[in-house]
Every structure is written in C-alpha cells, then in structure tokens.
Symmetry: C2
Subunit: 229 residues, 2 copies
C-alpha cells in the first residue's frame, strides 16, 4: 500500500540502493563495530553518501531500520521453523537462518539506539516464538534437556557474525570470501549438532537468566559507562 508499484527506473534504482545499503550496513557494522562510519557503509554499498542521507535522515534512523529488519527476519524464521513437521529440523533451520542473516551485527549498537514501540512488540513476539520452538523440541526429546532458550539466543548471536569473514571483506579478498562463508557454515553446523539430545555429560554451570537479554537494549539508564568508546 505504501509502495503499490514502482513508477519508473529511478525508483527501481532507489530500491536497489536501499537494499544494498542495509546489506552493507550489516557487514560494516559486523566488521567495524558500533563506530562504523556512514562513509564506510555507503562505500561498501557502492552508493554515495548523499543517497544514504536521502533515505535516512540520520545514522540512527538507519540503525533503527536495521534492528527492525533483523527482528522481522528472526520472527519469520521462527514461524517457518514452527511450520516444519520435524521439531528438530524446525529449530535447526531457525538457528541457521538467523545466524546467516547477520543477527550478530546488531550487538554493538544495542543500547545506543532508541527502541520504538513496534520494535518492542516484535521483540516480545520473538521471545514467545523462540520459547515455542524450544518447548516443542524438548517435548520431542530431540534437544538436550539442559539447553534453554537463552542458550539458543546466545548461540545465534555468537554465530551472527564471522570474524574471519569480516576481516577478509575489509581486506577486499573477494577470492576467499565464499570459502570463509562456507567454513563458517560448517562450524555453525558443528555447534548445532552439539544441541542434539545425544550427549552424556551435562553442561557446566547453571542455566543463564533471561535478564541477560531482556536488559540489553535498555537505553542509557543514567548508569555511568566505563569507556568512552
């Protein structure tokens, strides 16, 4: 409704630029952390800085859009996972989809962007969907019993970026990028296999509290920060 039909080749280019910008933002954010500059994002997208600022009024607006997109991707992946017949396959494909979308690139900006009402609602929904996926896998006894939803969240975040891939991209080693991406998928597959209910020894430590995630997007509680960076 907002965009019924593109009205010409210029609009098509604008859409392509927007997609390239969001994609590049995830990559540069993963590689450079929260300090990622708009110039670097625009360059990685292959567009001018002007084009970036025509679509997003500020850097923060771009980051907010990015966060919302990631939540959408998370929720869609979870719904697709729940729609699968096999509880294990549903959970596993959800994890892989989230990780490969680059979910982890958002960690450095968590706590720096303002959280809108929509984002909060989507975040709440994402918690419910993940809990449902985990509960179903537990009931089917395919997921090792000592694994919690927070464990899965942390695993997704942990694999939401690949240090090796980020560095190669920064160096412009296009020739190795695909190999690194495949290698990353392999390691993720190893970790996902570790979730299966075929392990004798229990995990170390106590199950993590969900406080670890619920407070992570909190915005400047007045608490003094340790570092300036």
């Amino acid at each position: 409704m907002t965009e019924p039909k593109r009205r010409g080749p210029r609009q098509a280019e604008a859409e392509r630029n927007d997609r390239a910008l969001l994609r590049a933002a995830r990559q540069v954010l993963a590689a450079d952390g929260g300090h990622a500059s708009v110039a670097a994002i625009a360059a990685a997208a292959g567009v001018g800085i002007g084009s970036l600022y025509r679509r997003y009024r500020t850097k923060e607006e771009l980051f907010q859009r990015l966060a919302e997109l990631s939540l959408d991707n998370w929720n869609q992946a979870a719904e697709r996972g729940l729609a699968e017949d096999d509880p294990w396959e549903g959970l596993a494909s959800f994890i892989v989809t989230c990780a490969e979308f680059g979910q982890g690139s958002l960690a450095p900006i968590a706590g720096t962007i303002e959280v809108t009402k929509e984002m909060q609602a989507k975040s709440d929904r994402s918690d419910e969907l993940l809990a449902a996926l985990v509960a179903r896998a537990h009931q089917a006894r395919v997921l090792r019993p000592d694994v919690t939803a927070v464990d899965i969240s942390l695993l997704i975040e942990q694999f939401g970026r690949s240090p090796a891939l980020d560095q190669l991209r920064k160096q412009g080693r296009e020739d190795l990028i695909e190999a690194a991406a495949n290698a990353h998928k392999r390691v993720l597959a190893i970790a996902v296999d570790g979730l299966r209910a075929c392990h004798s020894r229990p995990l170390p430590g106590n199950p993590p509290t969900d406080q670890l995630f619920s407070e992570r997007w909190a915005h400047e509680t007045g608490r003094d920060r340790r570092w300036t960076g």
Copy 2:
C-alpha cells in the same frame, strides 16, 4: 634473565599495571574492534595514558605484544593438551583455554600490525601443535572424522569473544558480567560437544583450505581496501 627480580614496590606496581593494560586491551579490542583507542584501553585498565606510553612506544607495539602473548597462550595450552592422557580431553581443554583467553580479540588487528620473525615462528609452531592434537584425536576416533584443524581454529576464533559480554562490560553492568561469562562457557561447551564422533550426518560443504588462516596476518600486500574503516 631480562627481569631476574623486581627491585622494589615501584617495579611491582609497574608489573601490575602492565598486566592490567594487556588484559584491558584484549577486552576493549573485543568490544570496540580495531578502532579501540589507547585512551579507552588505559581507562579500562585503570591507569593513565602516560603509563601506557612509558611501557609501549606506540599503539602498534602494544598490539604486537598482545599478539605474541596470544600465540604463547595458544602454544602453552596446546602443549598441556598434548600432555593429557585422554586425546579428547586434551583437545577439548585446549579449545576452552584458548577461547577463554580471548583469542578472538585479535581478529580486528590482524593485517594491521607488522609480524615479527618471532611471531611467525610461534605461529608456525601453533599450526604444528594443533595438527598434532587433531591427528591424535582422529586416531583415537573421538573426534568426528570430517572435522579439520582449520575448523577447530575457526571455532576457537568464533568463541574467542562474547558479544553479550562485551556489551555488558561497555555498559558497566558489573552485576551481569559473571553471569554472561558463565553463559558463554555453556554455549562453548555445546559447540565442543558437537565435535565428538557421535554424529550421523556429515558436515555441509567441503573442508576449508588453510589458506583462510595462513594469509590472514599478511600485511598490506598493496591490494586495495574496500573500506576506509
């Protein structure tokens, strides 16, 4: 030989400061990436900038020392692992030790610091030690057969930092840091369990080439970089 004995309380303080600096550098580097500033490192260590520059002439010198320390830690952990009787326990403890030392914090500076002869030698040795650990585990049939040494390296790097922990540290949430550290250990334990030889389906894709690692520390080959950051 270089430092036979500390000659007074001032030297003791200097040593403590040095350890704090190196420790803080790993943490800030993990949280802020390659742009980590010396001011942030000094602040996180609780020392002044002047003290940092009395010990290291430049920022790069500090980073070089950091890289060398990581290689030492890697090699010591590998030797301890090889000294263990159980091939599986040897490999697993090696992985956990390296990951928890913060091996992954070095990724953002790989390619930006000059590699000394000593570092190159230690790096070569680290390759040999890891290969020995992997070969021994393969022979004992405790490691899933399709896992290579490069897979292990990537896994260590992947878990060499924790995005959640980094963010909490940046926010000064001391109350949650220990919980996050424990949660990180749990997820790592899950991934390590995925390495065991009790999985039916093979890993996706082809085994990664060691080119992924051998060229990562290469310094400015004249290749044009994509981003300025």
